[in-house]
Amino acid sequence: MGRLFPVILLGVGALTLPYSVQRVFLDTPIERTMGTVQKIFYFHVPLAWIMMLLAVVCGVAAGIQIRTRSERAEATAIAAAELVLVAGLGVLLTGPIWGHATWGKAWTWDARQVTTGLLWLVFASYVLVRHFGAAGSERLAAALAIFGAVNVPIIYYAVKIWKTTHPDNNVVGSLPPQMWASLWPALGGLLAMTLGLLWARIRLERAEIALDEAWVGVEDAPQEA
């Protein structure tokens, strides 16, 4: 079951994503003011949501890890943090493309952009600490992830009030219902892919831990025999 689950999820993603691409490009009307480039919205927005979700998952898992030293939570935190980087890269690449085409400016220091960018940096530093930190730094990294997750609303709000002192109107207009309807399959596909990858990565991390234990067990064996 545990092995099958990510495969099923990835399979669902593999079916849903082409469908959503077809739907987005062929069955959804072209947005009047932004034109074809608006199609990127159907992938950009779900990716951003997924990124935020993963950041929160990582923060919560890190909180559990630091309290109970559960290795399942630790594996989840690592997997989620790495996928935050992947999803974040998607968001940070698609965002400026869209922005450049519609606002004429790739980076406008909008609250959401800055939040995403900083969040990505925080999780990049999490992954760096996990990789290069000495023994015992996993707790430090966990605290980092918790702070990262808590920072999300704070940064968002901070940049928002920062911008209000110098307003900059870049509000994305409200969308007609059929465009929203096309968003859901894309979200579903991407979410299935993400969860599949997350699951597989957690399993990999836990397998690594189990392998370490097995290794130690083998070394112990002669004594017990």
Binding site: R69, A135, L211, D212, E213, W215, V216, E219, D220, Q223
Partner: protein
């Protein structure tokens, strides 16, 4: 004298990823007993002491202090323990008196015991250096100051990691005497060392740690006299005793 056992480690295991530093270590230190821990570099001596002191979380096993299983060592319990390591752990910019003052005032509600500093330092031969900056001390003096600091808190359990390193022969003798005096008053001592002569002179029991396992033990009372104990410990150190072979 308390009837409870100050320190009992049961089936302690410690791993850093794939590296098993300690495996299934059982060790008890009774009141008034001085136990020596020997083993090659990397055999897990420092890790074991750190776990006993609560500075490292263990991967497996139980730690019992004063007859009770303890996961998180409380402040009251830490007040009854002391740890002297081979790093000096002193503030080099402060004087011996200031270092001691900080320690004693941290552990007590009032600065009641500050008056006890001088006698303790004098006992360890630091009477002339009380108001000198620790940075000007020799390693041996620092080590004695560390021990003075540890004893000033009147602990029930004293852990020492390589206490004999960088002490001159008279210093070693003095340390051994002080430890024996304290043990006779009920202190439980666990010390690690490479120095067989020092270990033989002071301990009641010696255990050998190898590859993270306890592989042998020599008890002074079981041997015939000081010479017998000495030979048994040296044999244990060479890893060729009956116990080691058995394990």
């Amino acid at each position: 004298m308390p009837a409870v056992t100050p320190l009992q480690l049961r089936a302690i295991g410690k791993r850093f990823g794939r590296l098993a530093v300690l495996r299934n270590v059982d060790l008890t230190v009774a009141s008034g007993e001085i136990v020596g821990l020997i083993g090659a570099n990397g055999s897990g001596k420092t890790t074991l002491l750190s776990i006993a002191m609560g500075l490292l979380p263990m991967s497996d096993g139980e730690r019992w202090l004063g007859g009770r299983q303890v996961d998180d060592i409380s402040i009251e319990q830490r007040a009854a323990m002391a740890f002297v390591t081979h790093t000096t752990q002193l503030y080099a910019r402060l004087t011996a008196r200031e270092n001691m003052e900080l320690w004693l005032s941290l552990r007590q509600a009032a600065d009641a015991s500050v008056g006890e500093i001088e006698p303790v330092l004098r006992r360890l031969g630091l009477g002339d250096a009380i108001d000198r900056t620790v940075g000007t001390f020799s390693r041996g003096m620092m080590q004695r100051l560390c021990l003075a600091r540890a004893l000033a808190g009147r602990p029930e359990l004293l852990l020492l990691d390589e206490p004999f390193t960088s002490l001159d022969p008279p210093g070693r003798k003095r340390l051994a005497e002080v430890l024996r005096e304290e043990a006779d008053r009920g202190l439980a001592v666990l010390l690690s060392s490479h120095d067989y002569d020092a270990i033989i002179s002071v301990t009641d029991r010696v255990v050998l740690l190898s590859g993270g396992r306890l592989v042998g033990e020599v008890v002074r009372a079981d041997e015939r006299g000081a010479e017998g104990f000495r030979d048994a410990v040296l044999a244990l150190g060479r890893g060729s005793t009956r116990e080691a072979a058995h394990a």
